[in-house]
C-alpha cells in the first residue's frame, strides 16, 4: 500500500468516524445507589455525569437510574440499560459488583465501569478514588485546630478503605503535632443519622474536639456545631450544614475521569485499565476550607496538596509506625497499592484495637 493510499484511507476512516459520531452520539448510562439529592456519594457521581454533558455536548447522550438497591434490582436495571444500546455503563456502588460482572458477560460490546470494586473482566473496568489523601489534609487542619490534642473519628465498617482513612487522618494531624491521638467509634452503618449523632456526642464527651467521619450523613458535623467542636464534611461540600464547625470537606471528583472515559471511547480507544486515582489525577479534593482558618494553616494544606498533586508526597510513605511504636514502613519506602488496599492495622496515635 502506498503512502498516498494510506493517507486517503486514514482520512476516510476519520471522516466516517466523525460522521458516525455526528449522527449517533455515544450513549452512556449511570446506575446510582442513592437519590441524586443525597448531598453525598450519589450527588458527587451525578456532578460527574453533568460535567460530561457540559464538556462533550451533542457527542454524548447520558441517562441515569437513581436509588437502585444493591441486589436483584441492580442486575435488572444494568441489563436494561445495556439492552437499550448504551455503549458505556457506570455502576457506581460497591454492591453492584456481581450484577455488573454477570450482565457484562451477556453484552461483550458494552464497556462497564464499576466504582470501588475489586473484580474486573475484559469489559468490566474498576475505578476508585484515594480518599485517604484529602483525609490526610483534613488531619493537618485538625492538628492545628485541636486544643485538647484529641481527635475523633466516626467510622462505618472495619474494612481497609475506612481503616486507611483513620490512619491518614491521624498521620496528617501528627505531622503537625506528634502528641495528638485519635479515638475511633464504629457505628456499623453507612447511614444512620441517629447513631452517627450519638457517636459524635460520645466522642465530644470524651474530650475529642475535631471530628471526621466515614459515614454518609451530615449528622456528625451538625453535632459538632451544636457542641462547640469542629468537624469535616465527607463526600460533598457540607459547609452550609454547619458554617462555624465546618473546617473543610473531603470530596470525590468524578467528572474528569468520566470525561476521559467518554473521550477515549469516542476516539475508538476505550479505557480498559483499572484506575485508582487521587489528587494527581484530579479524582478527589479538599474543598470548602473554612476562611476563618489561620493563613499559615491554609498555606500548609495548600503546599501539601501541591506536593501530592506533583507526586512528591505519598500519604503511605515511610516512616510509618504502628500503635506499639514499631516501624511498619521504613523511611524511604512506601506501601504498594495492593498493601494500601489491604490495610488492617492502626498507625501510631490511633487509640483502641481494630475490631476484627
Amino acid at each position: 500500500m502506498t503512502l498516498w493510499k494510506k493517507l486517503v484511507l486514514g482520512v476516510g476512516a476519520l471522516a466516517l468516524a466523525s460522521a458516525a459520531a455526528a449522527q449517533a452520539p455515544l450513549k452512556m448510562a449511570w446506575v446510582y445507589v442513592g437519590p441524586v439529592g443525597d448531598g453525598g456519594w450519589t450527588y458527587a457521581h451525578d456532578l460527574g455525569r453533568k460535567e460530561v454533558e457540559k464538556r462533550l455536548g451533542a457527542k454524548v447522550q447520558t441517562t441515569y437510574v437513581e436509588s437502585v438497591p444493591e441486589g436483584a434490582d441492580a442486575e435488572r436495571v444494568i441489563r436494561d440499560l445495556a439492552a437499550k444500546g448504551n455503549q458505556i455503563v457506570f455502576t457506581t456502588s460497591f454492591g453492584y459488583m456481581e450484577a455488573t460482572l454477570k450482565v457484562a458477560k451477556s453484552f461483550p460490546k458494552v464497556t462497564f465501569y464499576h466504582a470501588t470494586g475489586f473484580k474486573s473482566a475484559p469489559n468490566v473496568v474498576i475505578y476508585n478514588s484515594r480518599m485517604y489523601e484529602p483525609a490526610y489534609l483534613a488531619g493537618i487542619i485538625a492538628g492545628h485546630m485541636t486544643k485538647k490534642n484529641s481527635l475523633g473519628f466516626v467510622a462505618s465498617f472495619p474494612i481497609p478503605e475506612v481503616v486507611r482513612n483513620i490512619n491518614a487522618y491521624t498521620m496528617g494531624a501528627r505531622s503537625v503535632n506528634p502528641k495528638i491521638t485519635t479515638k475511633v467509634v464504629w457505628v456499623n452503618t453507612w447511614y444512620d443519622p441517629s447513631k452517627e449523632r450519638q457517636a459524635a456526642e460520645t466522642l465530644i464527651g470524651q474530650g475529642c474536639d475535631v471530628l471526621l467521619q466515614n459515614t454518609d450523613s451530615s449528622a456528625v458535623l451538625q453535632t459538632a456545631q451544636d457542641k462547640g467542636a469542629y468537624a469535616f464534611g465527607w463526600d460533598s461540600n457540607m459547609t452550609a450544614y454547619a458554617p462555624k464547625a465546618h473546617l473543610a470537606s473531603a470530596i470525590e471528583v468524578w467528572g474528569g475521569y468520566y470525561v476521559q472515559v467518554a473521550e477515549a471511547a469516542l476516539a475508538g480507544k476505550p479505557i480498559k485499565t483499572t484506575v485508582w486515582g487521587g489528587m494527581p489525577e484530579g479524582m478527589n479534593d479538599l474543598v470548602g476550607v473554612n476562611a476563618a482558618l489561620p493563613d499559615n494553616v491554609k498555606k500548609q494544606v495548600a503546599d501539601k496538596k501541591a506536593e501530592i498533586v506533583a507526586g512528591k508526597f505519598h500519604v503511605f510513605q515511610g516512616p510509618i509506625k504502628l500503635q506499639d511504636g514499631s516501624v511498619k514502613v521504613a523511611a524511604g519506602q512506601a506501601l504498594t497499592d495492593k498493601e494500601i488496599d489491604s490495610i488492617n492495622w492502626y498507625a501510631e496515635g490511633v487509640e483502641g484495637k481494630l475490631p476484627n
Binding site: P158, V184, W186, R197, E201, S236, A240, Y241, P355
Partner: protein
C-alpha cells in the same frame, strides 16, 4: 465521673423522639387499633416540619406542620382500617412504605441545607449541673413538652373517664358499643392522636435533633417505637423507661469503644436489640401481666354501623 453526664445526655436525646412516637402508638393500640405505620408517619412529620421552617414558618409552624402531617397520614390509615375494615397490619405496612416514599419526594429540594430554625437546649440553672440527672434538665423546649405529654397521657388513660372509654373500646368494642360508646369515632380519635405524636417525633428529629433533612431521616426508629409499646406492656411510664434504656444501651456501646474496652463492635452494635429481646422475654414470661395490660381486641376490626 465527668464522662457520665455526656453519656446520659446522649441517651436522653435519643430517647425523646422514641418516647413521643411510642406514647402515641400506645394510645392508638389501647383503643384496639394496631398501626404499624409509625415510621412512615414520623417521616412525613419530619419533612413537613423541615419544610415549614425552610419557608420561614418558624418553630411553632414546624410543630404544627409535623403534627398535622402525621395526623393526616393516620387519617388515611383510619379511613382504610376503621371505616373500610381493611387489614390493619397490611395497611400499616403500606403506610410506612408510602410515608418513606412521599417524604423522600417532597424533601428533594431540602437535601443539603441546614434547618432554617431549630430548637436549642434550655438548661435549667443549677439542676442541669447535677451529676447523672443533670441532662434531664437540659432539654430543648420540645423535650420538656415530651415529658409533660408523658405525664398528661398517663393521667388521661388511667385517671379520666375519657381514658377509661379508650381502654374499654380496646378491650371489648362490643361491650363498649352496648354501653352506647361510638367505637369508630373513639378509634379514629386515638389513631389520629397516634399519628400526631409520630409527626411530633419526626418534627423533633428534623428541627431539634438533626436540624437537617435527608432521605430516611428516622432510619428505622419508628420500628423501635413500635417494639417499645409491647416491651412496656402498654404502660406509659415503662415506655419512657424503655426508650431511655434503648438510647442508653446504644450510647453505652459507643462509649465503651472510646474508653478502650475491647468488645467486638458488632457485638456492641447488637446490644440494644439483645436488651430488647431480654426484656421482652422477661415480660412475656409473666403472662398474667401481659394479658392484664394488652388490649384484648388489638388489631381486630369492629363494625359499629356508624
Amino acid at each position: 465521673m465527668d464522662s457520665i453526664n455526656p453519656l446520659v445526655a446522649s441517651a436522653v436525646a435519643a430517647a425523646i423522639p422514641l418516647m413521643l412516637a411510642a406514647l402515641g402508638e400506645l394510645v392508638t393500640e389501647r383503643s384496639g387499633v394496631l398501626n404499624l405505620g409509625v415510621e412512615g408517619m414520623m417521616l412525613v412529620g419530619a419533612v413537613a416540619a423541615f419544610a415549614a421552617v425552610a419557608h420561614g414558618g418558624g418553630l411553632g409552624a414546624a410543630v404544627l406542620a409535623g403534627v398535622l402531617a402525621g395526623a393526616l397520614a393516620a387519617l388515611a390509615f383510619g379511613v382504610l382500617t376503621i371505616s373500610l375494615q381493611a387489614s390493619q397490619v397490611a395497611t400499616g405496612l403500606a403506610l410506612t412504605i408510602l410515608g418513606t416514599g412521599i417524604s423522600a419526594f417532597l424533601g428533594r429540594g431540602y437535601v443539603g441545607s441546614r434547618a432554617a430554625a431549630s430548637f436549642e437546649e434550655l438548661p435549667i440553672p443549677g439542676l442541669s449541673a447535677l451529676p447523672l440527672v443533670g441532662p434531664f434538665f437540659s432539654l430543648t423546649l420540645l423535650g420538656y413538652v415530651a415529658v409533660a405529654l408523658l405525664a398528661a397521657i398517663t393521667w388521661f388513660l388511667f385517671r379520666t373517664r375519657g381514658g377509661l372509654v379508650v381502654r374499654t373500646v380496646g378491650e371489648s368494642p362490643a361491650v363498649a358499643r352496648s354501653l352506647g360508646m361510638r367505637v369508630s369515632r373513639i378509634r379514629y380519635a386515638a389513631t389520629l392522636f397516634g399519628g400526631a405524636m409520630a409527626g411530633l417525633a419526626g418534627c423533633y428529629y428534623a428541627v431539634a435533633q438533626f436540624k437537617m433533612w435527608q432521605e430516611g431521616l428516622t432510619s428505622g426508629n419508628g420500628w423501635i417505637a413500635l417494639a417499645l409499646v409491647v416491651f412496656a406492656t402498654w404502660r406509659p411510664l415503662r415506655v419512657a423507661i424503655g426508650a431511655l434504656l434503648f438510647g442508653g444501651v446504644t450510647a453505652l456501646g459507643l462509649y465503651l469503644q472510646t474508653v478502650g474496652i475491647h468488645i467486638s463492635a458488632f457485638a456492641l452494635a447488637s446490644l440494644p436489640y439483645l436488651a430488647t429481646v431480654a426484656v421482652l422475654v422477661a415480660t412475656s414470661s409473666n403472662q398474667l401481666a401481659l394479658r392484664r395490660n394488652a388490649p384484648a381486641s388489638l388489631g381486630k376490626p369492629f363494625f359499629d354501623g356508624d
